[in-house]
Subunit: 413 residues, 2 copies
């Protein structure tokens, strides 16, 4: 059972909106054992769209498409799918009633053009939209099952879960797939590849792959088998073989991202934390509070962008700022100590640096970031020179360095 995903919309091709739907759909399909072979992103132009959908339906057993179901004239997926199925559009009264009910629930009047959203290819069955107006639909094209969902991510996700995944499961022929990630910190990608050796050979089951992202390497084990239990066993076997090869490089296992891992360790040790951020501007706190349950460990943070804020909110002595400058280890240390004290936290981490594009000097170029970690026994500070590859890059790497420090502290956190 091979699936493909098609994302539709001119805005995706113009580089102004990132397609996150395909990735979500592929992850969910793989979880139920449906292998995804390709994603296609295409615009609203009818000929291009028709060709892309037809190609996908010829190659795959299941095609999940998103986008182009809005009420405006640049939304053409309904018409193109009908043409592809060799059928006219029909007005689906039940979908129209659901659209009317949505507007009524939201206390809004119904623009006449929303009627377009209730038009479906004649032989299609409607997929109701629980959180928006556009119904999706299901249609057979070239022996493939084509599911068309709205492009709005939250509408797509609910419709996928409630209607598409059960329907694909009912089609049968799925190959249970289990994956497991090992998060690695330390070696270069090449060195890690050498250590993994033949495990990475093409065609192996489980497949073992390496990805570099955000300063971390991920070793992904993907096992397929006739049963979930079988796939799980294969996956566990390879993981057990790889662990000794990775040794100290192995930072964590599973799908959890770094903020989740940090939060886990904090919660396990009953440690509370606060942040005192300058160049990261609230990113450390924002990423940690992205994780549900973060209030158990995070007391809060101060974003002290100006020198006055560093003095007033964190108690950084003015002479340190005058003598060493805001981007310095003594100031980072005073920020961390001040933050720890003010929040009454067990642990505080401070960042101060030059994210760019301006503000750099010969002595402290863009990318210079000072960090400090304060705890009961005292504090320590250190400096990292991050490559000046743009403001977002410097800030991202600085946040990564905070997670790295919290996860690799000899005492744990």
């Amino acid at each position: 059972m091979i699936a493909e995903v098609v994302a539709i919309g001119d805005e995706l091709l113009h580089g102004s909106l990132l397609d996150s739907n395909s990735s979500h759909i592929a992850g969910e399909l793989e979880r139920i054992g449906c292998v995804v072979g390709r994603f296609t992103v295409v615009g609203d132009e009818p000929d291009d769209l028709r060709a892309a959908l037809a190609d996908a339906c010829r190659r795959a057993d299941v095609v999940v498409a998103t986008g182009g179901l809005g009420p405006t004239l640049d939304d053409r997926t309904r018409d193109v799918a009908a043409a592809l199925g060799g059928q006219p559009l029909r007005f689906d009264e039940r979908s129209w009633q659901q659209i009317l009910a949505w507007f009524e629930r939201h206390g809004r009047s119904v623009p006449a053009s929303n009627r377009r959203q209730a038009e479906l290819p004649a032989a299609a069955s409607a997929l109701p939209n629980a959180v928006g107006t556009a119904p999706g639909f299901r249609l057979t094209v070239h022996d493939a099952e084509l599911f068309v969902l709205p492009g709005v991510p939250r509408e797509m996700a609910v419709m996928l879960r409630d209607h598409v995944l059960p329907a694909v499961t009912a089609l049968g022929g799925l190959t249970p797939t289990v994956q497991h990630c090992l998060r690695v910190l330390g070696p270069s990608e090449a060195l890690l590849g050498e250590r993994l050796g033949d495990y990475m050979h093409p065609g192996r089951n489980p497949a073992v792959g390496v990805t570099a992202a955000g300063g971390l390497l991920t070793v992904r084990i993907v096992a397929r088998s006739a049963s979930v239990a079988g796939a799980r066993a294969l996956c566990a076997e390879t993981a057990a073989e790889l662990r000794p090869l990775l040794g100290d490089w192995l930072l964590a296992e599973g799908d959890a991202e770094l903020p989740e891992l940090v939060l886990d360790r904090l919660r396990q040790s009953g440690t509370t934390i606060a942040f005192a951020e300058s160049c990261t501007g609230g990113l450390c706190a924002a990423r940690l509070t992205d994780v549900a349950g973060s209030s158990a460990a995070l007391l809060g943070g101060v974003v002290a962008y100006s020198n006055a804020a560093k003095e007033r909110l964190l108690g950084v002595p003015r002479r340190l700022l005058d003598q060493h400058g805001a981007v310095s280890e003594p100031v980072a240390q005073a920020m961390a100590t001040g933050g720890r004290d003010r929040f009454g936290a067990d642990l505080a981490v401070a960042t101060t640096g030059i994210a760019g594009p301006g503000g750099g000097s010969a002595h402290k170029p863009v990318g210079t970031v000072c960090f400090a970690l304060a705890r009961d026994g005292g504090s320590k500070a250190w400096t990292v020179q991050i490559p000046a590859l743009g403001r977002a890059f410097v800030r991202d790497r600085a946040v990564f360095e905070v997670w790295r420090a919290l996860l690799t502290e000899p005492k744990g956190v």
Copy 2:
């Protein structure tokens, strides 16, 4: 001149890493007048990869592919491209010297497996990598020019700018394209579509499209012409016609995202700002400090996650917390006033709410968020019930509400 983009890597199909390269490449190609017709995302499996590259090269004049150039055995793009071009791999001595120089600059020894990165299809020309080890290459396949770049975004971006864009420009046959965005707040997508009427008809030049994202509607005008000046004139003409149709709905023009627009208004009026954030956990400050130059207006922020932090860092009276609860308009108001006072800012905005998944009650369900804005003349508070569609959704919408309030305040900010 039609281009396609191909992103390569099993990790992209597994739903664990989002492909942001294709969007960046498409935006840059469009900027120089090269129309992008399709993106394809495919895994490392050689047959699938070969089919995807061959399909793209048959359809398009220019194909830009990224990924699969790493040093490990699961990186197979070099071999597949060579096979597609009907040629063996050759060892490119100059690329190897550049790889050696990179390791020397970084004070690291060279793993033997990095030699793989200097192997290129025999007839390919190498594209040097200024910020990493993997060279890219250029190869003619089925009359298309195929450019293969590394998947690491910063390496890809530099190689695209320095080598691919100039080469595509030199090929000629480009159609200058100019786009302009109108940001709209207020109507539903359907209502906006009705107002725009025939402007949105397929095949029109300039094309006019509407996208809904992050609570905002974007009207995108895309004009193509034989000259840049001609495309610009067409675009400006349509924009001038649309402005009166949009009236008060028109929030801003151009590519700037909301935090940039907020920062612009703050800077123009010489207003300083501070944030007092609970449920948004630093996101407001983090998004505003993403914008270069934000230190001119943002003094800082407090992330007051715990009640104790609200009291100690923002001076929220305990009786307000006891009487109304942390998620209440009086507490939001006290947070904003306290934050404004402590940072000495002209303006402060506070957020306190229930992001979920836990913490909701019948009286204050998940998604309840209270906001307050404090300024010289006093403060005001209001509550928004955000649909409980996940923690990230609630937080995102809460941040959007902050930008909306700052941009639509009758007095401006």
